[in-house]
């Protein structure tokens, strides 16, 4: 397995010449670029020219993770040529938000034949319901297939998200590469969020919209808990996600970012499903806890033997917002926790796909998720 990390800046071009020699059917090219790169035909043309046989996985992001830094206005790419691992790829359009599960199923079926070890998914973050999509994919793939990835982001701009389909950036698609053969993959997601206050029962919810908590209007309960900090709503909502527990006897909580509030309906719109009957608490994270969690994700995902890996870091767009100029720290502590010689790159997402306490693959919010890859040599 041969790995090469590169960056690209609009004015300066590629940081080093593209390693066209690594092009093969067993080559994976992963590239994460600012939203505006959708219009940079020269960028895509250069990739297509250098890697005609490779499988290119790409999506929009706001800023990218390159090594131990977060970079803005810069695309980051990695070229990995496997020796024995087989790579396949697929793309499926998501015709409507409500058909996310169907699209996921279709994608899963397209990749299932190769009996993949791991599927890395990137999907349009604004035109898909992440939870539904993930359940659709998981349901169509053989049990035990590792599914990781994220929902393409656009920073806080929320205007356009895209994924690369047949060399062209397009909105409304879900794309994936599947790896099969001797590959070792680790994956973990950590948030650093601490739930506080009284647990409330979701007494009325529709999909990702929470209408009532303990029989009271959801927004009122939420704002009461925030007190003076509620004055910062709706922007402040991003910093206080809901910690959701579906089963009261189960310790693990899944984070749901509050994407929007509706003062008329007194409801909270979340970035993922919140089932009726679940218990929720508000959660918050200080800068330290956010940074710590990136380190903990890396420690959990890295192989035991200390061999170098390719690390795909997928962090939440709202974490970047919360950390501000400390976001470098997140990338740095994760990178530092990996075995020496590892390569790290990644993007900021509208939802992270990684194992959770409730499922082998789940949609996370507000998490730092890390996927480690290495080819096993006999």
């Amino acid at each position: 397995m041969e790995t090469r990390l590169l960056t690209h800046r609009p004015e300066a071009g590629w940081s080093s010449p593209l390693p066209a020699g690594l092009d093969s059917a067993r080559t994976l090219v992963a590239a994460f670029a600012p939203t505006a790169y959708a219009e940079r035909d020269d960028f895509w043309a250069s990739l297509a020219a250098a890697f005609p046989r490779s499988h290119v996985l790409s999506c929009s992001s706001v800023g990218a993770i390159a090594g131990e830094h977060v970079v803005d206005d810069t695309a980051v790419a990695v070229v990995v040529r496997f020796e024995r691992v087989e790579v396949t790829s697929a793309a499926v359009p998501i015709q409507a938000l409500e058909m996310s599960r169907r699209a996921g199923q279709k994608l899963g079926r397209a990749l299932a034949d190769g009996d993949p070890h791991t599927v890395i998914v990137v999907a349009d973050g604004m035109h898909a319901q992440g939870s539904e999509l993930v359940q659709g994919i998981a349901g169509a793939l053989p049990a035990g297939t590792r599914i990781v990835g994220g929902m393409a982001g656009d920073g806080a701009a929320c205007q356009r998200t895209w994924t690369l389909v047949d060399g062209v950036p397009r909105s409304g698609w879900v794309t994936a590469v599947a790896l099969s053969g001797p590959v070792e993959v680790g994956a973990a997601a950590r948030g650093g969020w601490r739930a506080f206050g009284t647990a409330r029962r979701v007494s009325r919810a529709e999909g990702n919209v929470v209408l009532e908590l303990d029989g009271r209007p959801a927004l009122a309960v939420y704002a009461e808990q925030l007190g003076d900090l509620a004055r910062g709503l709706p922007a402040a909502a991003e910093r206080f996600p809901l910690a959701v527990r579906v089963d009261a006897n189960e310790g693990a909580e899944l984070m749901r970012t509050v994407q929007a509030i509706d003062t008329d309906a007194q409801s909270l719109t979340c970035a993922g499903d919140v089932p009726q009957g679940a218990l929720v608490r508000l959660a918050r994270a200080g800068h330290e806890q956010l940074i710590d969690s990136a380190e903990r994700a890396a420690i959990a995902a890295k192989p035991r033997d200390g061999a170098p890996v390719l690390a795909l870091a997928i962090s939440c767009a709202s974490r970047r917002e919360a950390l501000g100029d400390l976001c470098d720290d997140e990338a740095a502590v994760a990178h530092a926790a990996l075995p020496p010689g590892s390569t790290q790159l990644g993007f900021y997402a509208y939802g992270e796909i990684a194992p959770s306490a409730r499922a082998a693959c789940d949609l996370h919010n507000q998490a730092f998720s890390l996927v480690t890859l290495r080819e096993l040599l006999s």
């Binding site: 506080f196 800068h287 330290e288």
Partner: protein
């Protein structure tokens, strides 16, 4: 750097600073920014945790207060319920102690499991011996009036029963009576677990009733037998006559000038006259004869064992002599006199009612022929004009004073065995002639111009009764009322029917009108219109006595009818009479082809039921299932028919 708190140590590490090397200006600023942020984080966290704690504390206090309120409410509720329960138990105790003497329970095999309460009154006196045994296994118990079989059937059907009277043999050889009520007991899963109920010693009440019954047999004014014991005497006479083959006579005696006496001298004197006439009668008859006073100035004598009618005539003449003797009224001699009508058993009638009626008719002939005479019933005796006038007057009075009655004859479905409806039948409880059937007074009512009033009375009374039943039942049944030809052709009929329904508050679907075939065929076009109007009210009409009017069923096609009633004359000889069988079969088939239901009336035998059922007749009416019943007995009958076990018994051929 281990001496630094963890948080600060990390900030220093991330900036690559140690305590050994002072930072340059830029690093110092970065460190300050990081420390500021860490403090702000900490402050925010503290604020939110404090707030969460405050909210939790407030909610917990609210919850406590709410629990407190609910506990108070609960306490109050428990106190109230406890008091209610105590009151209800006290009521139950006084109720059971007032209403009953003992309480009993039986298992699913009807064996006593407990007899408790005021058991000193329990007529058996041997409670221990009764436990574990059924009533019919106990020698002390006589069977109830309906017999053990019927009683056991009732128990097997798990029905409640009320005040069933049991007679007991008590140790001193005497008899005691108990009224026993019981209800079935079911386990929580619905299985039958036995019976429980109460019993009451009614021995004294029973003896008192016997006494009253004895008293009730005699006329208090004259000491003669009264009307009801007269009927018993006739029944005894019939029984004796059947054994001995001797005829006997019923003599109907009406005083001739009693009314004049009453008018002239007053009631007290009138009573004296009645007493003295009674004594004369008593003296004049033989030991084996009996005399009774059955109404104002009407007496009857049952004279037994006559070989020849001439001897009866002699006897009657002797009675007339005795009654014709003058009486002293306030010092004045008066002759009251009497007229006598004679009916002979068995020639003139085979039951008490008929004999009395015919003796009465003969008595009117005697009066018409000049008073103080006697006459034999002459077979074709039509009621005299006088009798008719008297009858008409009293019929008018009976209508006005609501003294008429309706009896109701159930109709039973041949498919399900359940009672589907009833036909209302007029009865006139005549103070002197007993319960008169329509045939005895309808022609009279028609002649006297009373038929419309009679019809209207019956319609209204039936609607009232139907309404009453409909309130008692979740599944009400229709009542049908006969319309006379004159009523049917009356222009006011539809308004009257509508009025009767409204007054009674009866839904129109619960009223059915029966119109004779001949009434419909008198003016078929007008009949069709009228039937359509009635139908538009929601009232169902059926053709009564079908087959007697010589019209074809096909002609009924244009009438909006619900059903056809086959005349009883075709049913009586079923299934043996081949002609009747063929006609009945054809009528049923044709009526069904016109979508009319078929009712057979006058059904009296199991063979008739079988015949009709085989030919898919829908409903039957007749003595086989039930005679016309007083209104009060109809719900019980229906209840019995609703029970499938009983319904099946009703079919047993």
């Amino acid at each position: 750097m281990s001496s630094f708190p963890d948080l600060l140590a990390r900030q220093l590490a991330r900036l690559g600073l140690t305590d050994a090397t002072p930072p340059d200006a830029a690093a110092w600023q970065r460190l300050l920014a990081r420390v500021r942020r860490a403090y702000a984080d900490h402050a925010e966290e503290s604020y939110l945790l404090d707030r969460a704690q405050a909210i939790a504390a407030r909610e917990s206090a609210d919850l406590d207060a709410q629990l407190e309120r609910e506990r108070d409410l609960m306490d109050t509720h428990v106190r109230e319920r406890t008091a209610e329960l105590a009151a209800s138990e006290a009521r139950f105790r006084s109720f059971t102690s007032l209403g009953s003497d003992w309480y009993w329970e039986q298992d699913a095999g009807f064996r006593f499991t407990s007899i408790a309460g005021n058991t000193a009154l329990y007529p058996g006196h041997t409670i221990a011996a009764h436990l574990g045994r059924t009533r019919w296994e106990l020698p002390e118990y006589d069977p109830p009036a309906e017999g053990w079989e019927a009683h056991r059937r009732l128990l097997e059907s798990h029905q409640p029963f009320h005040d069933v009277v049991f007679r007991f043999r008590v140790p001193n050889g005497g008899r005691a009576y108990a009224a026993v009520s019981g209800e079935p007991v079911f386990a929580p899963d619905g299985t039958f677990a036995g019976y429980r109920g109460i019993g009451r010693d009614i021995t004294e009440q029973k003896l008192a009733e016997d006494n009253i019954r004895r008293l009730a047999r005699f006329d208090t004014l004259t000491g003669l037998a009264n009307r009801s014991s007269f009927f018993e005497q006739v029944d005894h006479a019939i029984a004796r006559s059947r054994r001995t083959n001797h005829a006997f006579a019923v003599l109907f005696i009406d005083l001739d000038r009693f009314k004049d006496v009453n008018d002239a001298f007053g009631h007290a004197t009138g009573d004296d006259v009645l007493r003295s006439m009674a004594q004369r009668l008593q003296k004049a008859i033989r030991a084996r004869d009996s005399a009774a006073r059955i109404g104002g100035d009407e007496f009857v004598v049952v004279a037994e064992e006559f070989e020849r009618p001439e001897l009866v005539a002699e006897f009657a003449a002797r009675l007339l002599d005795a009654l014709g003797e003058p009486v002293l009224l306030r010092g004045q001699e008066c002759r009251v006199g009497a007229s006598i009508g004679i009916a002979l058993y068995p020639a003139d009638g085979e039951d008490a009612q008929t004999l009395l009626k015919r003796a009465d008719v003969a008595m009117y002939r005697a009066k018409e022929a000049g008073r103080n005479g006697f006459a034999f019933y002459a077979g074709n005796d039509a009621p005299s004009s006088e009798e008719r006038m008297v009858l008409a007057a009293s019929l008018r009075r009976a209508i006005d004073t609501d003294q008429l009655l309706l009896h109701y004859q159930p109709k039973v479905s041949l498919r399900t065995g359940v009672m589907t409806g009833v036909e209302a039948l007029l009865r006139w409880p005549h103070p002197e002639r007993g319960l008169l059937l329509p045939a005895a007074f309808i022609p009279l009512a028609e002649d006297a111009g009373l038929i419309r009033r009679l019809g209207r009375w019956a319609l209204r009374a039936a609607c009232r009764q139907a309404r009453e039943w409909s309130l008692q039942s979740s599944d009400p049944f229709p009542v049908s009322v006969n319309l006379s030809a004159r009523q049917f052709t009356d222009d006011r009929l539809v308004a009257e029917v509508s009025d009767a329904l409204t007054t009674a508050g009866l839904p129109s679907r619960l009223l059915e009108l029966e119109i004779t075939e001949s009434a419909m065929m008198e003016h078929p076009d007008r009949a069709a219109e009228k039937l359509a109007e009635l139908r538009s009210l929601g009232v169902r009409c059926s053709v009564d006595d079908f087959g007697t009017g010589f019209s074809s069923l096909a002609r009924l096609k244009k009438f909006p009818l619900a059903s056809v009633k086959i005349d009883r004359s075709f049913i009586g000889d079923l299934p043996d009479d081949a002609d009747d069988a063929a006609i009945t079969t054809a009528v049923i088939a044709m009526a069904h082809s016109l979508r009319l239901a078929v009712v057979a009336e006058g059904v009296e035998t199991a063979a008739q039921v079988r015949f009709l059922r085989e030919r898919n007749c829908d409903e039957v009416q007749g003595y086989f299932f039930a005679k016309p019943l007083p209104a009060g007995e109809v719900p019980a009958f229906r209840q019995r028919r609703a029970n499938p076990a009983v319904a099946a018994v009703g079919y047993a051929d």
